[in-house]
């Protein structure tokens, strides 16, 4: 069975992750309950005639995928697999608003065409002329992990040799207002916002796109190997420990084999208890968090994946993402644990090439 190498990555996020190297400059937000992605310059990446119909999520996905493929020196991948929680929600809103405002008349095609969840994967394929397998997973907070699992199985079994895998989600005004109403997003009165030590419910919402070029051959550009991953719909807090240890056992690993762990803490006091439970297993190794930089959204875990792979390649943990003061000289195996509101639980294991 072949291995699954991460040979290129691109990330558009609320931090300047597209233009700069691995988290060399970060801005930690404490005052905004929605943070927006820093948009790259699209003029060099997308023809103006095509860009005018594209929503933010599509553009972010195109930019991230272009960078990932360039790094891996892949012109056209064999397949494209995308994960998204809310898809092109901005165009969906425009289309539905037009339905209401115009009494179901005068409906224009563009917003409707662009409102489907697989628009991102479709537009990337159109741009590349990629006629291979193209699939989009819409599975809440395990959308990205579902895409990864599909790609991993295909690469290991040599059904495909290079797969572009990624995730994209965008914010949109009406949906954000609804999220505030139902307390998914933190209240203004909860300021200053903090992911660690938070005593309020809800999250800081955001958006972004991360794409990775996965191949079953090692290259100079390789970041890490995608060793294993597991997804589970729901867990109780008291089941977290056995979930993690069973995953490690299944992969013939012990807790002490892991060099660093990346947690998806998002500052929601009700559900960060899952990470507290998990962190007690790993109190001898560096612990990392990232959603104070990326914000929370259905595919924020793809940012965490980008962080973990970058740590393995650079062998450095930037100060801004350290949860504890434990130092380690080498990072051979990094484990990611993420969940959202106790559901969409995922474990992803990366290892040094």
């Amino acid at each position: 069975m072949k291995k699954c190498y991460i040979n290129g990555m691109g990330c558009v996020s609320a931090q300047d992750t597209y233009e700069t190297s691995f988290l060399e400059s970060v801005v930690i937000n404490t005052t905004e309950n929605i943070i927006y992605a820093i948009q790259p310059s699209y003029k060099e990446l997308i023809p103006p005639a095509a860009a005018r119909r594209m929503a933010k999520g599509v553009k972010m996905g195109l930019a991230a995928s272009t960078k990932a493929l360039k790094e891996a020196n892949v012109e056209v991948p064999d397949a494209i697999i995308t994960g998204t929680g809310m898809g092109c929600i901005e165009d969906s809103e425009k289309f539905l608003r037009a339905l209401l405002d115009n009494n179901e008349e005068y409906l224009t095609p563009t917003n409707f065409i662009q409102s489907t969840h697989n628009t991102v994967g479709g537009q990337i394929a159109l741009g590349l002329g990629c006629k291979g397998y193209n699939f989009t997973y819409v599975n809440g907070a395990i959308s990205f992990e579902s895409a990864l699992l599909d790609a991993k199985l295909q690469l290991e079994n040599e059904e495909e040799n290079s797969i572009l895998v990624g995730a994209a989600d965008e914010t949109s005004s009406h949906t954000m207002e609804l999220f505030k109403l139902i307390n998914i997003i933190k209240k203004e009165s909860d300021q200053p916002y903090s992911v660690l030590g938070s005593n309020s419910t809800g999250v800081i919402y955001s958006e972004g796109a991360t794409f990775v070029a996965l191949e079953n051959i090692h290259k100079d550009s390789s970041y890490a190997v995608l060793e294993a991953l597991q997804i589970q719909n729901e867990l109780k807090v008291e089941e977290v420990e056995s979930f993690i240890t069973a995953f490690l056992n299944k992969n013939n690993l012990k807790l002490e084999d892991i060099d660093a762990v990346v947690f998806g803490n998002n500052g929601d006091v009700t559900f960060d208890t899952y990470y507290s439970e998990a962190s007690s297993l790993f109190n001898q190794i560096p612990q990392i968090y990232y959603k104070h930089l990326s914000g929370e959204f259905n595919t924020a875990s793809a940012f965490g994946f980008w962080v973990a792979a970058s740590i393995i390649k650079s062998q450095i943990i930037p100060q801004s993402i350290k949860m504890n003061a434990i130092e380690k000289n080498t990072f051979s195996k990094v484990l990611l644990y993420n969940q959202y509101q106790g559901k969409d639980q995922s474990l992803v294991l990366l290892s040094k090439c």
């Binding site: 103006p48 005639a49 860009a51 005018r52 119909r53 115009n102 008349e105 005068y106 409906l107 224009t108 095609p109 563009t110 065409i113």
Partner: protein
């Protein structure tokens, strides 16, 4: 007629999200499709909806579209003759 052409150019830019184009960039007789603005079939549908929504014109025969949407000049002329609002 001149005011209508200016209004039409603004509405085309807005409806088709022509980000880098201003009213001054569109000449009255520039072809809208192919060369000129380089619009495509999806834009044609957007323009049909625009005629209906803003000027109350329903194109009964789609074949008419080719002549009507030739340029801003031809569109404005057709609108002036057939508008119901």
């Amino acid at each position: 007629m001149e005011a209508l052409k200016q209004e039409l150019k603004a509405k085309i830019i807005e409806a088709l999200n022509l980000e880098d184009i201003s009213i001054e960039d569109i000449n009255d007789n520039d072809p809208l499709f192919g060369e000129g603005l380089g619009l495509d079939s999806i834009d044609a549908l957007e323009l049909i909806v625009l005629l209906d929504k803003v000027y109350g014109i329903r194109l009964a025969d789609p074949k008419q579209g080719k002549a009507i949407f030739e340029s801003v000049e031809t569109m404005a002329k057709y609108i002036e003759e057939h508008r119901t609002k």
